[in-house]
Every structure is written in structure tokens, then in C-alpha cells.
């Protein structure tokens, strides 16, 4: 039976805090550097050490690297989950396990290729330092996998060296020896042909393998972020910490000063208050958090909307509600953020679908916030933010910053009068002056209570309604500024599919499987709220439109329904919401079933 080439899922079951992360990265990096499309996902627990952790690597020649449920090749290193790991392997798959683990060998299945490996013995052959043993154990399986699947030895070595970075030579040496020991063991003991092989391809030239949070941090450096106030929370902390790292290195002014300020606030509520204060002065200010932090920012979000102060809020969504599953993913904060805060509020949302867009929105979010003078929420999620994705190299942005409508002392002196909340251009967006502007007409009073066009306090019902109507007009104007959807129409198709954010990663695979089932829908990826004209046109030009999202209540579908109620009957939900990233079948099966039902 000849082996499957460049198409399998490797799943490593270990315990967190055991250093398996670097072994997994070496394998992932090597495959990527062999030009093979690869995706890596870390399924980690919400504690620091000792609980089950799985790292899955999907290799797929066609570039389908979203989550795939069935597992071809498992490496079982964790006694606590060995029974479950045995069950999860696809029939005909490979179950390799650490022979030192204590478990009932009768559990081993006869429809899988079971490979016992004496890790302790192999490690003992490499080192006598007890402290090192725990970490070297994980390196052994790097060698085993490389040998069995045919990973290029030189590429593997280079990846290992990169991974150990500046660690001292002896440690690097021991790790490499452990890898080789694993490879040697495999070569010597597992002679029969291995069912899953890799072969170099050329699908990753000029690309990088990066997580969304790091990409976002780079994007903020280039997007002109000068103020970040944040509070630690999984899965958003790595974005803030990456920005702190890059800013310290690359954001020094000529005279060695920092062109930024980062504050770890006492909580998310204060963090959002600091953002509004800094944005009010004209700085590009943002915060990054997850669901629980967004809830604490509700009151200030309403202030940003009504007093029209720019703000960028990065929400790396996790499975809610409440504390929920801090280390699982979801797209569950959409309904909440769309109208967050009491009263008539509507907020701008961006839905990045790749590290590339996480990078680009580092500037786009600020441009929109300063242009529209309101809060812009960027809804990433744990899967996109913390897992590793192949993406084109980011190009340094050339588009100048859009600082929005700012009235300087010079421009003021050409005006007869100035009203902070005057709709002088008719697009609903007023001009603002920055604190410190030395001109008698510049200063104004910012408040969250009733105010007129001159920012004076008023309780007048006419003025209050006028301001609310202008804010609605401004939100409508936003449609012309926010990123338009990406549409791939299938000529003549009566069926459309809508997805957004990280769900997009599975959509190529979904559409190819749908095609095999005789369904060739048009596809629209929504990138922002409010929805512009193209979104309406797309829905209108199809009879049935499936809205695919990773939450229980069909939150995007509800927004589309409210916006285009005349088209609501065409919309149907395809929902996946168990905290793990969506996989192709979860989308294909319901659509095929519905379309089949449609036909007869």
C-alpha cells in the first residue's frame, strides 16, 4: 500500500509546561521550509503546567490547512489521555506511544499501526542530566517523525538551530543529539514503509509562518500606534507583549526616546479610559483584550460613540460566555460589540481573516477610528491570534496615515466660527481640534452628556435628536470607508455562502468539497460592519445564502437580517461552536443536506 504524500494530520499529545512547544515548532518549521502547506494548532488548557495539551500539524498539498477532525498519526506522551488518544486515531492511522507510559496495552487497537518507543531508554543514551531529560524526551519524537515521514534532514537541523536561537551551545548540542537518537531508533526499528510521507514542494516560497497576534503587533508598529494600555488576558496578552518587544527594538527616535507609551493598567475598564484620553489628544491609542475585558469596556465604548473620540480595541475572542473556555476559540462577541453600551449605539467592527490582515489592520483600524472619530473593534480570535499560519510576507505600508478631520490653529484662523460637532461637510463627520491648539476658537468641552454642535451643554430635545441623527448618518458614511467584502461569484449560482474572520481559512476546502457534491455557491467574505452596498447586492443575487459562523446564535446572520430585513428570508445559518476551530465537514454536510432537501 503506497504511502499518502503531503496529506496527513499529526497530533502530539503531551502535558503543558513540559517544553513540547519547541519540538512541535521544529517539525512545523521544517515542513513549512520544505515548501509544503502546513498549519499548526495548539490545544492547551487554562492552567500553567501539568494538564493535557495537544499540538496538531496538518500537512496538505492543496493548501487546506484548517482543522481536520480525523487524526492520521498520533504521538502519545501523556498517560492521562492515552486511552482517549488511542480512540481518536483514524482507522489505518499510526498510534506511536511512549512505551514508558503505564496503561492497559489491551486498549491498543488492531485497526491502527501501533508503534511503541522506549523514550526513557533513548534519552538515557543521550544525557545523564536529570533536569534535561524531561525536555530532551520531547526532542526524541522530532527525530522519530522526521525519519518516518521523510522530512529533509538539513531543513530539520536548520529549523532546530533557529528554534534554539541564542541558547548556549551545549544545550543545543544535546537537543540535536536527542533528535538524531529518535531518527536512528525509527530507522532501526520501524523498517516497513510508513503510510504518511512528505515530499518537498514549492508552495511556501517567499512566505512566512506566523501567528495573528504577532502579525498584529508588527502592524501596530507600522500603523503608527503611539499608545497602548492593556490588561493581561488569554488569548490577547501575546499581542501586547509582542508589540512591547518590537516597539522597544524598532521604535526609538533619533535621540533614543520611545515613540510610544505602553501601560499595563489595573483593569480593562481603566485601560479603555486611558485609550480615550490619549486618542482625545490626537495620539493613535489602542487596547487589546478578550471577551471579559470587552464587557468591562461597555461604559467607555458608549462614551467614545457619543462624544466621538477615536479608539481602537483589539478583541482576540475566546469561547464565552463569562470566563468560559479561556483557551478555546469562538466568534461569539459580534452581537454584543455591534450595539455595546446602553442607548442607541452602533460600532464599527473589522474581521481579519489572516495574519496578513492582522498586520494591515494595524494601520486601517487607526485610519478608520481617526477618520470616523469613533471606536473601531477588530474581532480576531484565539485560533487566528495564537496559532501559526502561512501567509505572504508583509509589505511595509506606504499609504499615509489618515488622521481624519483635524482643525489646526492655522485652518481655524481661516474660519469665521468653529463648532466641534458641526456637520460642515454633510457626511456626518465633524472636525475636531486637538488639546493644546493655540487658537481662541480651538478649546471645547468634551462630555458624555447632551451637547450641541458647539459642544455646549444642552438638554434640548431637538438638539439631542439632531445629534443622534447625525451619528446615524456618520455610521452610514462609514460604509464607504470600511474594507469592502471579498466576493467570488459563481456565475448563475442561486446559492451563496458568507463567512468572515478565521472561518475563511477552511472555506477553500469547503468549496472544493461542495463542488464534488454538485454545489458551487458564490462566496462572500465579509470584512467589516457596517455592511456596504456589495453585501446587499450579493444576498439579493442569490436565493439561498448560508452564513457560516463560529457561535451558537448566528450573530452575523442576525446583523445581516436586521440590516437587510427585506432579504432576511434568504439567509440561513451554518453554525459551529464547540470551542475548537471549524472543520470542512461541519460546513459542507449541512449545506449539502439543505440543498438536497431544496431539490426534491
Amino acid at each position: 500500500m503506497n504511502p499518502v504524500i503531503n496529506d496527513f494530520v499529526l497530533n502530539v499529545a503531551t502535558v503543558n509546561g513540559s517544553g513540547s512547544q519547541s519540538s512541535n515548532m521544529i517539525i512545523l518549521k521544517a515542513l513549512f521550509r520544505m515548501g509544503i502547506p502546513t498549519g499548526g494548532k495548539n490545544l492547551f488548557p487554562s492552567n500553567i503546567a501539568g494538564l493535557p495539551t495537544w499540538f496538531s500539524i496538518r500537512v496538505n498539498r492543496d493548501g487546506y490547512i484548517a482543522r481536520k477532525r480525523d487524526i492520521d498519526f498520533t504521538i502519545a506522551m501523556n498517560p492521562a489521555t492515552v486511552a482517549e488518544d488511542i480512540r481518536e486515531v483514524k482507522p489505518g492511522g499510526v498510534f506511536m506511544y511512549n512505551d514508558d507510559l503505564k496503561f492497559d496495552r489491551a486498549l491498543l487497537r488492531n485497526d491502527t499501526i501501533n508503534m511503541a518507543v522506549p523514550f526513557r531508554k533513548i534519552v538515557d543514551g543521550v544525557t545523564t542530566a536529570i533536569k534535561m531529560k524531561k525536555f530532551l524526551t520531547n526532542m526524541v519524537y522530532v527525530g522519530l517523525v522526521a525519519e518516518l515521514t521523510g522530512i529533509d534532514k538539513e531543513v530539520l537541523r536548520k529549523s532546530a538551530m533557529d528554534q534554539f536561537g541564542k541558547k548556549n551551545a551545549s544545550i543545543v548540542e544535546e537537543n540535536l543529539k536527542a533528535i538524531e537518537a529518535g531518527a536512528a531508533y525509527a530507522a532501526e526499528h520501524f523498517k516497513n514503509p510508513f503510510p504518511f510521507k512528505v515530499q518537498s514542494m514549492n508552495k511556501t516560497q517567499g512566505k512566512i509562518l506566523i501567528d495573528g497576534n504577532t502579525a498584529a503587533a508588527m502592524g501596530l508598529v507600522y500603523g503608527g500606534c503611539t499608545f497602548m494600555s492593556w490588561y493581561p488576558i488569554t488569548p490577547s496578552s501575546s499581542l501586547a507583549e509582542a508589540f512591547a518587544g518590537y516597539a522597544a527594538k524598532y521604535r526609538k527616535t533619533a535621540d533614543g526616546k520611545n515613540s510610544y507609551s505602553i501601560i499595563q493598567a489595573e483593569d480593562e475598564l481603566s485601560a479603555m479610559g486611558m485609550v480615550l484620553g490619549a486618542s482625545w489628544t490626537g495620539a493613535r491609542a489602542m487596547t487589546t483584550t478578550s471577551g471579559p475585558g470587552i464587557s468591562l469596556m461597555s461604559e467607555f465604548a458608549g462614551y467614545s460613540y457619543f462624544a466621538e473620540i477615536p479608539a481602537v480595541v483589539w478583541d482576540v475572542q475566546r469561547a464565552g460566555p463569562s470566563t468560559g473556555l479561556p483557551t478555546r476559540t469562538s466568534q461569539g462577541d459580534i452581537s454584543f460589540i455591534a450595539t455595546i453600551s446602553h442607548g442607541d449605539t452602533k460600532h464599527i467592527m473589522l474581521f481579519p481573516a489572516s495574519p496578513q490582515e492582522c498586520f494591515d489592520y494595524g494601520q486601517t483600524a487607526f485610519d478608520l477610528a481617526e477618520r470616523l472619530q469613533t471606536a473601531v473593534f477588530v474581532l480576531s480570535d484565539l485560533d487566528l491570534g495564537m496559532n501559526y499560519w502561512i501567509t505572504d510576507r508583509f509589505q511595509p505600508p506606504t499609504k499615509p496615515f489618515d488622521r481624519g478631520k483635524v482643525m489646526t490653529a492655522e485652518t481655524l484662523s481661516t474660519k469665521a466660527a468653529f463648532g466641534r460637532y458641526e456637520d460642515s461637510d454633510g457626511d456626518g463627520i465633524p472636525y475636531r481640534t486637538l488639546p493644546g491648539t493655540k487658537h481662541p476658537m480651538a478649546p471645547y468641552f468634551t462630555r458624555g452628556s447632551g451637547h450641541d454642535e458647539k459642544a455646549r451643554y444642552t438638554e434640548s430635545n431637538e438638539v439631542y435628536k439632531r445629534v443622534l441623527d447625525r451619528l446615524a448618518k456618520k455610521f452610514n458614511t462609514a460604509k464607504t470607508y470600511v474594507p469592502a467584502p471579498i466576493i467570488e461569484n459563481t456565475a448563475g449560482s442561486k446559492v451563496g455562502v458568507i463567512a468572515f474572520g478565521s472561518t475563511d481559512i477552511v472555506m477553500a476546502e469547503v468549496r472544493s468539497q461542495l463542488k464534488k457534491n454538485g454545489v458551487e455557491p458564490s462566496y462572500m467574505r465579509i470584512r467589516a460592519y457596517p455592511f456596504n452596498q456589495d453585501v446587499e447586492t450579493f444576498i439579493k443575487s442569490h436565493d439561498r445564502v448560508y452564513v457560516v459562523e463560529q457561535n451558537r446564535d448566528g450573530q452575523m446572520k442576525n446583523l445581516l437580517t436586521a440590516e437587510f430585513s427585506h432579504l432576511a428570508p434568504r439567509l440561513r445559518s451554518v453554525l459551529h461552536y464547540d470551542g475548537l476551530p471549524v472543520y470542512a465537514d461541519a460546513v459542507v454536510n449541512p449545506i449539502v443536506a439543505a440543498e438536497r432537501g431544496q431539490m426534491n
Partner: protein, 357 residues
Amino acid sequence: MSEVKTTEAQTAAPAAAKPETNKLGLKKLDYQGAPSTLCTGCGHDSITTHIISALYESGIDPYELGKMSGIGCSSKTPAYFSSRSFAFNSVHGRMPAVSTGVKMGNRNLKLLGVSGDGDTASIGIGTFTHLIRRNLPLVYIIENNGVYGLTKGQFSATSERGAKLKSGTVNTHEQIDLCALAIELGCSFVARSFSGDPKQLVPLIKAAFHHPGTAVIDVISPCVTFNNHEGSPRSYDMVKQHNVRLQELGFVEPAEPIQAQYAEGETKEIRMPDGSLLFLKKLDPSSHDVSNKMAALSALHETRASGKILTGMFYINPDSVDFLANQNLPEKPLANLNESDTRPPAEVLARMLEPFA
């Protein structure tokens, strides 16, 4: 701030005696705000008057002043002074957080925060605590009337245990002394004053503007509508009866000549980093040394038990290191940085991406 002097025309008053102006050439009138909508006789309005005096005498440029507040009758007062200054009336209890962002965004703004005792000691005690922990340079005036004026007179967290409202409700909770709390949290400029005592309050406000860090001034400010009744420990009469003033205070700007109106011996001279001087003439030789934190705390604890109300400078450490000091910020405010200041060159991005290739 750039050296551009204010350009707007001075309406010269030809005939009348040339009106007194400060070092900026501004009249006291130029520091007025909109008419107050507070109750007539409210202590807050007196504080506003004294703020105007302090701003005027200090020659603070209205354009460089940022007026920050939370929510309450007290937090409305920024509208009633220096209407040439930008103001940010934020949400209840969060003025310290917004002020932190404002100062980082534009380091050249001198920030004056006005808050109430409810705004600070009840909903805002968390942001108050962490403002002090970070030591943000901010003049923080608490207009303390012991109640929530704007929501019609409920107790706030600073009201004395056992105090009684007109409605008869008695406060059974422990009183929070914001000055003792500030000292314990490490605040390096802590004072208490009274809305009716400009001779004490004005020099304190002027000194606070020169302090390298958070300067807290808790000003007792009677609410004539809800907490000025017989038996209220915060009524004008009670405060006047029990007020024990620690010092005679004087403040001299760096350039100003020192009129030697302070007697020798008992006068302590505190030199602020920019050379301005705060004179403290002890009114009672036994009163504590304002540079001794524990002495200040003991003085506050003792008087609290006695029912007396101690006012004046409690504790000051002019060598305090403010929050900006270790932020390594450029001279040019972050608000004014653009592509050229913030975008690293293209090859930096290549270097950043290197580890991910």
C-alpha cells in the same frame, strides 16, 4: 509647548487704571468660565473662584491647561473656570484613567483634575489608588461634601461613621480619609483645605502645579442643600468650628521676587524641582514635619478621633519621580507623531519577519 505667545488681541482698557495682568499678560477675567448652575452658596463654587485665582497668579497658559473631571456637581465645575482650556468631563469615577491617557498623549498639557468624594472614594477608589501608584503628574482636587450632591444627597464613602442625613439615615460604615489613604499609597503631595479658606487653598493649588507627581488636595466643600444641616459634621458652621489650620502658606513662582513676609524659625521652605518655593509657617510648634510620612499619618489618625478637622499641607516629597520620568518619551508629544516619526524603515520589517521565514 512651542514658544508662540498667545496672539489674540488684548482689548486694551484705555481710560480705566491699567487692569492687573499676569506674566502672560492675561487678566483674571480671562480665566473665568461659564456661569455656574450649582446651588447658590455651594462650596464647589468657592473652590472654582480659588482655582481661578491660582491659575491667574501662576500665569498658567489656558491653552496648556487640561481640565479633567468625573461626574457629579463637583465634576461640572470645569465648565465654570478657564473656558479657554480644553476639558474632558468623563464618566463616574474614571477621571484618573482618562487623565493618564491624556498626559501620555500630550505631555505638555498641565492637568487639573476635579472630582467629588463620591466620584473618588466610592466608584473611583480603584483608579485613584492606581493613579497614585503610577504617580502621574496631575493636580487632583477632591471637592468633598460627604454626600452625593447631584443624586440628591446619599452618603458617600468619606462621610463620618455616625453622621446623620436630613432624612434621618445614619452612616454605619467606616469613613475613608482620602488624605491618609493617599499617604499610605505613596502619594508625594497630600493636603486638605476648606472651600472657604482661599489663603490656604490658593497657595496649595499653585504649589501642586509644580509638583513632580500626583498632588492630592482634599477640599471640604459643604453641600448647602443636602449636608449643611444641624449636626452635620460637614456644615459650614461645624467646619469653621473644628478647622485646625496647620500652617500659614505662601508660594513663590521661580521668577517671582520673594517678599519676605515669612517669619524666621518656624517657617519651612520647600524648593520644588523648577525652583519655585512653598513656604510653610507652622501655626503650632508641635505640629508634625511635612516631610515625615508616619508623622503625617499619626496626625491624621489622632485628629480624626478628636472630631477636629486638620487642614493644610500634610506630606510632601519634592524629590518624587513622576510617571513620565521612566517612560522615556520624546519632547514632541505622542499626539503629534506621524509616519515619519513612527514607521520604521522597510528593511526593519524584513528583519522582524526573519524568524518567521
